[in-house]
Subunit: 429 residues, 2 copies
C-alpha cells in the first residue's frame, strides 16, 4: 500500500473526494457522540450497586479499630481502608492516608501546600521566582491546570514508549528552579503507556538540584487493566528507598474508576516525612474525611484481589470498545502513513497522532459531524500542542456501536485533513 505522501496530486484529490463523500454520509446520520472525557459508561456504573445494599449496622458502623464512622475522628482514615490502599500502592498502611472522594482534589491540595508552605520545611515554591514544573507531553490537562493555577512555568518533556524522555528530564532537574513533575506512570493519560522499569529507576536515582523536587505520582490507572496480559509497573517506593530518594515521590489514587467517579475514596501514599508534612496541613484543613464511604468500600473490598475481581468486570465492558476503536483505525488508516495510535493494555485513553499540523482540523471536522473529542491541544500545557498532532480518544462512555460510528467519523476526518494539508489547503489559516 502506498503511503499518502507518495500519492500524486490527482490521487490525492480522488482520496479527498472519497473521504469527503463518506464523511458526508456519516454527517447525514445526525450523530451525537461525546468522547471527550474518561467517563465510565452506564453499564460500568451498575457494577457497584452493591455499595447501596450493604448493611453497615452489622459492624455497628464501626471501623475495625472500634471507631464509630458516623462521628468525627481518624484524620488519616479508617485502618482497613488504609490497608487496602497500602496493598494497591505496595506500601505500608502507615504510609497511606485515606481521604475523600477525589484524588485530583488531593493533588491540588498537595501542590497548594508546596506552593504556600514548601516541602518538609523548604522555601515555599511561591517564593521561588520562575519556578518550573516538568510537563510530560502529551499529558493530562488537569495536571497542567493545577501547576498553572499556582503560577508554575511548565516545561514540556516528550513521552516515549518507555515513559518520559529521561535524558531531557535529567538535564532539566539540574536547574534548582525545577521543582517537580506530574506522572501517570501506569497506562498514562492519554497514551496508555506504562513507564519501563528503567524509567522508574532513573526517576528514583537521578540527582535533582532542588532538594524539594517532588514527583506527583498519579496512579489513576494502577489496577485498571484491560487484558490478562497486563503492564507491570515497578514499585517506585521500593526503588526510591534503594537510592535514598523516598521523599521524592507522593502517590495518589482513587476508586473513581473502580466504584463511582467523584463518589469513591481517594488516598495518598508517601514517605514518613511526607506523610507528616501532609498531616500538618490536614490537621488545620479538616477534622476527618468521610469515613462512612471508606467503610462502605472496605466492607466490599477486603483486599487487592477483591479490587482486581471488580476491575475484571470493568475490563469486560471496556475491552470491546478499545478493540473496536483499534479495529476501525487500523482498517481505515492503516498503511497510509498519515496517523499512528497507541494500543494500550489498560487505562482510559488512546492517543491518536495525526500528520503534523492537522489535529485541530480533525477536531473541527469531528465536531461538525457530531463527535465531540477532548479539546485538541488539551494534552499540552496552555492548550498548545506545538506539532498540532495529538488527539486524545476516550472510548469508555459511548457504546460499542457508537465507538464504531465515532471511529469512522474520526478516520474520515483524519483523511480529509491529511489530504487538505498535502494539497496545501492547510496553509490558509
Amino acid at each position: 500500500m502506498k503511503t499518502l505522501d507518495n500519492f500524486s496530486v490527482e490521487e490525492l484529490h480522488r482520496f479527498e473526494d472519497e473521504a469527503k463523500k463518506y464523511y458526508g454520509e456519516l454527517k447525514s446520520r445526525k450523530v451525537d457522540i461525546n468522547m471527550a472525557r474518561g467517563k465510565p459508561c452506564a453499564e460500568q456504573l451498575e457494577l457497584s450497586t452493591e455499595l447501596f445494599d450493604l448493611d453497615l449496622s452489622q459492624c455497628g458502623y464501626k471501623a475495625e479499630d472500634g471507631t464509630d464512622c458516623r462521628n468525627y475522628g481518624l484524620l488519616c482514615g479508617i485502618p482497613e481502608c488504609r490497608r487496602l490502599f497500602g496493598e494497591v500502592f505496595g506500601v505500608d498502611p502507615k504510609n497511606v492516608i485515606a481521604c475523600g472522594s477525589s484524588s485530583l482534589n488531593l493533588m491540588f491540595d498537595y501542590f497548594s501546600q508546596c506552593y504556600t508552605h514548601g516541602v518538609c520545611g523548604s522555601k515555599p515554591w511561591s517564593q521561588v521566582p520562575g519556578y518550573k514544573i516538568i510537563a510530560v507531553v502529551p499529558g493530562y490537562d488537569r495536571h497542567f491546570a493545577v501547576a498553572q493555577y499556582f503560577g508554575a512555568e511548565l516545561v514540556n518533556v516528550k513521552m516515549t514508549a518507555d515513559g518520559p524522555d529521561m535524558d531531557a528530564i535529567e538535564e532539566l532537574v539540574k536547574d534548582p528552579a525545577v521543582k517537580g513533575m506530574f506522572c501517570v506512570p501506569k497506562y498514562s493519560n492519554p497514551d496508555g503507556i506504562t513507564y519501563s522499569d528503567k524509567t522508574v529507576e532513573r526517576l528514583a536515582s537521578m540527582k535533582t538540584a532542588a532538594d524539594d523536587f517532588r514527583v506527583i505520582w498519579d496512579e489513576a490507572y494502577i489496577i485498571h487493566d484491560l487484558y490478562d496480559e497486563k503492564d507491570e509497573l515497578s514499585n517506585v517506593f521500593e526503588l526510591a528507598k534503594k537510592y535514598g530518594t523516598e521523599d521524592r515521590f507522593v502517590a495518589f489514587a482513587s476508586t473513581s474508576k473502580i466504584t463511582y467517579p467523584g463518589a469513591g475514596v481517594s488516598a495518598v501514599a508517601a514517605s514518613d516525612a511526607n506523610i507528616e508534612d501532609i498531616k500538618k496541613r490536614l490537621t488545620v484543613q479538616i477534622i476527618s474525611y468521610d469515613k462512612l464511604n471508606q467503610l462502605r468500600h472496605s466492607f466490599l473490598y477486603k483486599n487487592l484481589d477483591d479490587l482486581k475481581a471488580q476491575m475484571a468486570k470493568h475490563a469486560e465492558i471496556l475491552r470491546p470498545k478499545f478493540a473496536k476503536m483499534a479495529e476501525v483505525l487500523h482498517k481505515r488508516l492503516g498503511g497510509l502513513g498519515i496517523a499512528s495510535w497507541t494500543d494500550p493494555k489498560g487505562g482510559y485513553f488512546i492517543s491518536l497522532n495525526v500528520d503534523i499540523g492537522s489535529a485541530k482540523r480533525v477536531g473541527e471536522l469531528c465536531r461538525e459531524c457530531g463527535v465531540t473529542l477532548t479539546g485538541v491541544g488539551a494534552t499540552y500545557p496552555y492548550g498548545n500542542d506545538p506539532d498540532d498532532a495529538n488527539i486524545r480518544l476516550a472510548p469508555s462512555c459511548p457504546t460499542v456501536d457508537e465507538i464504531e460510528t465515532a471511529a469512522e467519523v474520526i478516520c474520515a476526518a483524519v483523511k480529509i485533513a491529511a489530504a487538505e494539508q498535502l494539497l496545501g489547503k492547510g496553509e490558509k489559516e
Copy 2:
C-alpha cells in the same frame, strides 16, 4: 450570700477545705469524661440511620435534573441540594455550591484561595506584608488555626452579648492590612451568643479600607436550636444587599451536626461575584463533589422544615445535658462571684468564665480528676487567653449523668482555684 472576695481568710480556708474534700470524693470515683469537643453523642447518631436505608434506585440514582449521581458532573452540586441549602442560608440556590463532607475544609480552601490568588482579582493576601485577620474572642480554635496557617496576624476583638465589639471592629477595618474575620453568628462557639440585628447590620454597613475584606460567616449552628423559643439571626445577605456589600460575606454550613459529623454535606453561599471567584478555583481543584451523598441527604430532607424536624430530635437529646450543666453551675457557683457562664438557646457550647488568672488551674484540676475539657486557652489565638478566664464546655457527647459528675468536678475545681488565688497561692507559678 456573700461573694468570695468578701470572705475572711479563715472563711476562705474553710471554703477551700470543703471544696478539696468534695473534689477528693469525686476523684475517688475514678471518673473518665471527655468534654473537649463539640461531638454528637451515640444517641444522636441513631437519628440518621434512615440515610442507610434509602433506595436511591427509585430515582435511578439521578438528581432531579437527570444527572446520574454515580458519575462525574455538576461541579456546583445537585440542584435539590443547592436548593435545600439555599433555604437554610436564605439565599437563591444559584448562590450556593453544595460540596463535600466538611465545611472546615471549605473555609480552609477559601482562605487559601484569598491567600494565593486574592479576592475577585485583588492582590493575594500572601503579598500583603503583615496582613491581619480579626479574631473574635473567645472563638473557635480551628478558625484561628486556618488564619495562622496562612501567616495572618490575628487581632483580638472581644465578644459581647450582642456579638463582637463593633466599635473595635469599625476602628480596626480602617487599616487596609486588615483583610477579614471569622464569625459564628448564630450560637457562637464557645459562647452560644447570636449576633444582634444591629451587629449584623453594622458588619454589613461598615466601611472597610480593604476592598477585599472578607467575612467568613460560619453558620455552623444555623438551625441548631435547643428550645422552641430560639434566637433569630438577621439575613446577612439581605442586609449586605441594602448596603452594597454583598461581596463581603461568604457563608458556610454543613450537615455535620444534622446527620453525621464529617460524613454529611457541606455548602458555601455567596454573591454572584464570589461564587464565580470560587468556581475558578474549583474548576481546577475537583471534577465534582460526592453527589451520591448529596442525593441521600436531599432524598431525606426535601426542605428546611424537614431539617428542622430533624433538629428538634437532636434538641430533645441535647436539652437535658445543657440544662443539667446549667443547674449544677447555678447550684454550686451561683452568687459566689467567682464565675459566670452562658446559657445558650442553641449550638454546642457553654462558655464558663472564671476568676481572672485561674482557668488553666481549673483545667488542670479537672484533668487530674478525670474530666477532659477543651484545652484552656484554645478559645484564643495562639492558645493565649490574656485573662486566663475562658473555659469552653461541650456538653453534647457525655450522658446526662456524666454531665452531672463532670459539672460537679468543674465546680469543685473552680472553687479550689478561686480560693487558692484569693489566698495568694496562685502567685507561686
